[in-house]
């Protein structure tokens, strides 16, 4: 989610609430007998507000699991999660009087700080990375489908080379792949076997099995020259010089497949950066909400 001018209302509301809370906190902290603590009435109000904000932010996860429920637009929930979640930190600090003296409250404070900071990091990533992915990975696919797509790319490459090298077991995959409609591979008429000498076929097969196949099997390995865009271009230019013009189109397709593999590698890495912060944010946020509920019950009890 990009944080742009459309967030203006939320930003103003958040700053306004923070300003009011801060103005209320100053006299409270200076003049309240015994100082600010969580068990005073002002402290309780800050605590309830802070926990309510945390709870709202936490409910985003539940909201995502029920996308069809008519309980507000997803955009509103997301923005509320972002701004109210951030606002919960100062509210809880006001609640606790900027101290965490007990073991449970200390743990909760650390969790809250980590959750909010990881959330801010996540918001920044979500702001910048999607645009970069769109620019750098035009052939982006669904992340979870990467293994499936990569398998199809390997099949497609095998079909192209199988046809060129008169290897029916590989060429058969062409028809199979084409018929399923999963991949757009060949234009009509391309099914015919290309006229190459035995030596050229042997050479092309050697290049395919020792250069292209290893890269397609391990596209994220940096050892292959095909993992690098410039080296890959030089690699295929050299290959085209060694082959007759009649197979250049097929070689272009192979180069295109390798380029798509590199894009998918880039997508995977960006995706991991884009989502790995959630491995910190979500577990700790859930734990924080549970501990917050326990803390509230015990605090009210005593």
């Amino acid at each position: 989610m990009r944080i742009d001018a459309t967030h203006k209302g939320w930003a103003i509301a958040t700053i306004g609430i923070l300003a009011v809370a801060t103005i209320g906190y100053l006299p409270y902290s200076l003049f309240y007998p015994g100082g600010p603590t969580g068990n005073t009435w002002p402290g309780l109000i800050y605590g309830v507000l802070g926990y309510a904000m945390m709870l709202f932010a936490g409910l985003l996860g539940a909201r995502k699991k029920r996308p069809l429920w008519r309980i507000g637009r997803a955009k509103v929930w997301m923005r509320g999660h972002l701004w109210l979640g951030a606002l919960s930190l100062p509210m809880i600090l006001f609640h606790a009087g900027f101290a965490a003296r007990g073991p449970l409250t200390f743990v909760m404070t650390i969790l809250l700080v980590v959750v909010v900071l990881s959330g801010i990091v996540g918001a920044m990533l979500q702001h910048y990375l999607p645009a970069r992915i769109m620019a750098e990975v035009p052939l982006e696919t669904i992340y979870e489908q990467l293994p499936v797509v990569r398998e199809q790319l390997r099949e497609e490459a095998g079909a192209i080379v199988g046809r060129l090298c008169a290897r029916p077991e590989f060429a058969a995959a062409t028809a199979s792949t084409y018929e399923t409609g999963r991949v757009g591979v060949l234009e009509a008429g391309d099914e015919e076997t290309v006229d190459l000498t035995e030596q050229e076929r042997a050479n092309l097969w050697h290049v395919f099995t020792t250069g292209i196949v290893p890269f397609l099997r391990e596209p994220e390995s940096k050892e292959s020259p095909l993992a690098n865009a410039i080296k890959a271009r030089l690699y295929f230019e050299a290959l085209r010089r060694q082959c007759p013009a009649s197979v250049h189109e097929a070689l272009n397709d192979l180069e295109s497949i390798c380029d798509e593999e590199r894009q998918l590698t880039r997508q995977r890495r960006m995706y991991l950066i884009l989502h790995s912060w959630l491995l910190v944010h979500v577990p700790l946020a859930v734990t924080l909400l549970v501990l917050g509920a326990i803390h509230a019950v015990v605090a009210i009890r005593y």
Partner: protein, 405 residues
């Protein structure tokens, strides 16, 4: 040539992927479960041993540390929003007398004694609690015998004794002669002794007060009450009646041992008359000069002996506050008592005024030690009665069930 259309790209997706759990969501769930397991394990371990330490709002003071595992010991069994530790819970272990019977409102214990703040001094209450009443003091009867508008140390009124201007000590003493001409040091007569000098009363710091200089302990080495060259023993520092008996007995004993002195130098030749003659002469010297050097000898009473008003040497000037001479031993005496070196009369007020205290104890010069509780205590400890303890060692150390009020 490869054909790349949105449709063909979309068609290559395995539509059954929805509903499958992939790496990041899977790990998110695993880590969430692990994180919850850790905190529940942590809290569970304490719960098994019935130890509520994790839920404490902060470390207790050392003196209350034994209560840290069981919230209900102080907080009671019945909780609720806004429910605080009741005074009766504190009173089960502490007898803390009321501040003043005239006070309009009585704050709860926890208003001043804030717990769960670690090792800070529990009784070190902030000024807020004091100022809440003393900035605009009201009393039940409407009468005030202390200042009504004190907001801070800078508003503190002058000490009552200093404002009176004179020391009603009732004796004569020349500080200037002793300190100046005789080069005596303050410590020759005044030493911090604390409780012994304070007399009845509690909660006085160990070296808070100066000893009351006594004749026997301070003056006698230089000012022995010698009264007759025939008697080597000085007269006791007692009432005139006792001194009269002592002098008479000493001279009677002397003349019995030295009958040859009868009639010498114009004295009577009869022992009884000799004793009376010498007593009259010696007492004239005693009452008129020796005793009068320090005491205001008043007209003779029915017995014919003078009356000596009692000295009123104050051991503790600040009856509503504490002062610790020991804590101020780094200062020269003259820093706070500059008039002592030039004072010629004991009635001179040598107690320093509040301005002297404020020269150090103010927010700009000393970051601490400028609160009300630096000098004052809230409770009137003279009314302390004590309490009957409720804990056994086993209960206090958590080895057995605990009492609840």
């Amino acid at each position: 040539m490869r054909i790349r259309t949105t449709k063909t790209l979309g068609q290559r997706v395995d539509r059954t992927y929805i509903g499958k759990l992939f790496a990041i969501p899977l790990w998110r769930r695993i880590l969430t479960a692990g994180s919850l397991a850790i905190v529940f394990g942590w809290l569970g371990l304490y719960a098994v041993t019935r130890n509520q330490t994790p839920y404490t709002a902060g470390a207790l003071t050392t003196s209350h540390a034994f209560l840290g595992k069981h919230c209900a010991d102080c907080h009671g069994e019945k909780g609720g929003i806004g429910i605080k530790v009741a005074d009766k819970q504190c009173a089960s272990c502490h007898d803390a007398p009321l501040h003043n019977t005239e006070q309009v409102t009585v704050p709860a214990c926890i208003q001043c004694h804030v717990e769960h703040r670690g090792e800070m001094r529990l009784a070190g209450a902030t000024d807020q609690g004091c100022v809440a009443c003393h900035s605009n003091l009201k009393t039940r009867s409407g009468k005030l015998n202390v200042a009504a508008g004190v907001d801070s140390l800078s508003d503190h009124p002058e000490f009552r004794a200093v404002a009176a201007g004179t020391d009603p000590v009732g004796i004569k003493f020349n500080h200037a002669k002793h300190v100046g001409d005789l080069s005596q040091k303050c410590g020759d007569c005044h030493t911090p002794q604390g409780l012994a000098a304070a007399g009845p009363g509690k909660h006085v710091l160990a070296r808070a007060l100066m000893t009351i200089p006594t004749y026997a302990g301070t003056c006698m080495p230089c000012h022995a009450l010698n009264f007759d060259d025939k008697v080597s023993d000085p007269a006791p520092h007692e009432k005139p009646e006792v001194i009269h008996e002592f002098v008479s007995a000493a001279l009677t004993k002397y003349i019995s041992a030295h009958p040859g002195d009868l009639g010498k130098d114009g004295t009577p030749g009869n022992a009884v008359a000799w004793v009376k003659f010498r007593v009259d002469s010696d007492e004239k010297q005693l009452w008129g000069t020796t005793c009068a050097r320090c005491h205001d000898m008043q007209t003779a009473g029915p017995s014919g002996l003078p009356v000596v008003p009692p000295a009123k040497v104050e051991a503790r000037w600040f009856t509503r506050a504490s002062f610790d001479h020991g804590a101020h031993q780094g200062l020269t005496c003259a820093s706070c008592h500059p008039k002592a070196a030039t004072s010629t009369m004991a009635s001179d007020m040598l107690l320093p005024g509040i301005a002297t205290c404020q020269s150090c104890h103010n927010a700009s010069r000393i970051s601490s030690g400028n609160t009300c509780s630096t000098c004052h205590v809230y409770h009137d400890w003279s009314k302390e009665k004590g309490v009957d303890g409720k804990f056994t060692i086993d209960k206090m150390t958590g080895l057995a069930g605990r009492p609840h009020a």
